[in-house]
Point group: C2
Chain length 209, copies 2
């Protein structure tokens, strides 16, 4: 009598396929201009059905955002577990991974930037929010662990505060890049990559032994 289990699996699949559809719609039309009807049509469901799986348009967005964080976490985990690099080299590599992610998954990356916008309009309870927060935690933990590894292998100064630095690096990713993109055409002829690379270089000089 695996009926319940099967139904649960199917429900999960439905849910994922709705997120798939939402991604296609949101990423092509933009969140503002995409409608729930669009998503419903793309998911081959009625609009009402969407609301059996997600409480609101914003929550659906958070589900996509969660995927972004998940992808990033996996990338960073690989880096963390890489045995061939010293701690400081890993931090250096981190900036390249940031940039690579934003290039390979520009839409996922952009979704990260609207965290606040959607988060504010979601109920605090709920699996999606909790998972998103968890992924966020995980990422900070990984970066922090990398720094600590650097301190263990003596490539990063012992007096560096790993947790604070990890938050700072993560903050840069969602701050420098977009802020550079913003002024990109308007002000200077630097691209965001240069800025983030440069910033990492400076920080690396400050923390290396």
């Amino acid at each position: 009598m695996g009926v319940i289990e099967r139904k649960e699996r199917e429900k999960e699949l439905r849910s994922e396929s709705i997120i798939d559809a939402a991604e296609r719609i949101f990423f092509s039309k933009g969140f503002e201009h995409a409608t729930m009807n669009d998503v419903a049509e793309e998911a081959e469901l009625s609009k009402g059905a969407l609301y059996l799986y997600f409480h609101s348009k914003n929550e659906l967005c958070m589900a996509i955002l969660q995927r972004s964080l998940h992808i990033l976490r996996e990338i960073f985990e690989l880096l963390l577990n890489n045995k061939n690099l010293t701690g400081i080299k890993k931090i250096s590599k981190l900036s390249k991974l940031f940039i690579a992610f934003s290039k390979e998954h520009p839409k996922y990356y952009t979704s990260l930037l609207s965290y606040r916008e959607h988060r504010e309009n979601c109920p605090v309870t709920g699996k999606i929010i909790k998972n998103t927060i968890k992924e966020n935690k995980n990422i900070n933990k990984i970066i922090s662990d990398i720094i600590k590894m650097g301190q263990a292998d003596n490539t990063i100064k012992k007096d560096i505060d790993a947790d604070k630095l990890s938050l700072a690096l993560w903050g840069n990713f969602t701050g420098i890049m977009p802020s550079s993109i913003l002024s990109e055409k308007a002000t200077l002829n630097f691209n965001p990559e240069d800025i983030i690379k440069y910033h990492f270089e400076l920080l690396i000089n400050a923390i290396k032994t």
Copy 2:
């Protein structure tokens, strides 16, 4: 026959008073939940009249955002013109000013964070957008100038790229802070201030002579 001039002044005043009203409404209800009718009522005008002064709700938001940037620019200008501090001390002071601003004008600060959100839904032409971009430029210019002054007075390394560093610092302001606020309750017991201070300390170590 100063009628035309007077009318122009009055129009300008009206426009400002609409922004005043919008601030009160948006800041108290939040942008999403505030309606143009709310703003119209607060401004003691009809909804239609608002659209004689601003093309859209988003543009009205950009007008508020412009005020935020203006305030910040004035703060930074004071710092730039301070004759009693060396360049490197000014950079150090900059982080304190960032934090002070976000504390004294939390709503203005928050408005900065939704730049992208509103910008994307505004026509590229128009005085407001142009002014906003200009303020943005100005701020980056000021920070960059401060760094150059530090290089002139030999408190900052000559090989530092002032323009890149300026963008990095500015990006941190709109990246680290909110990202820290985000995870504030969820993950760690650091407050955003600590993170931004710490980050500045590291950078200052990397750039000072």
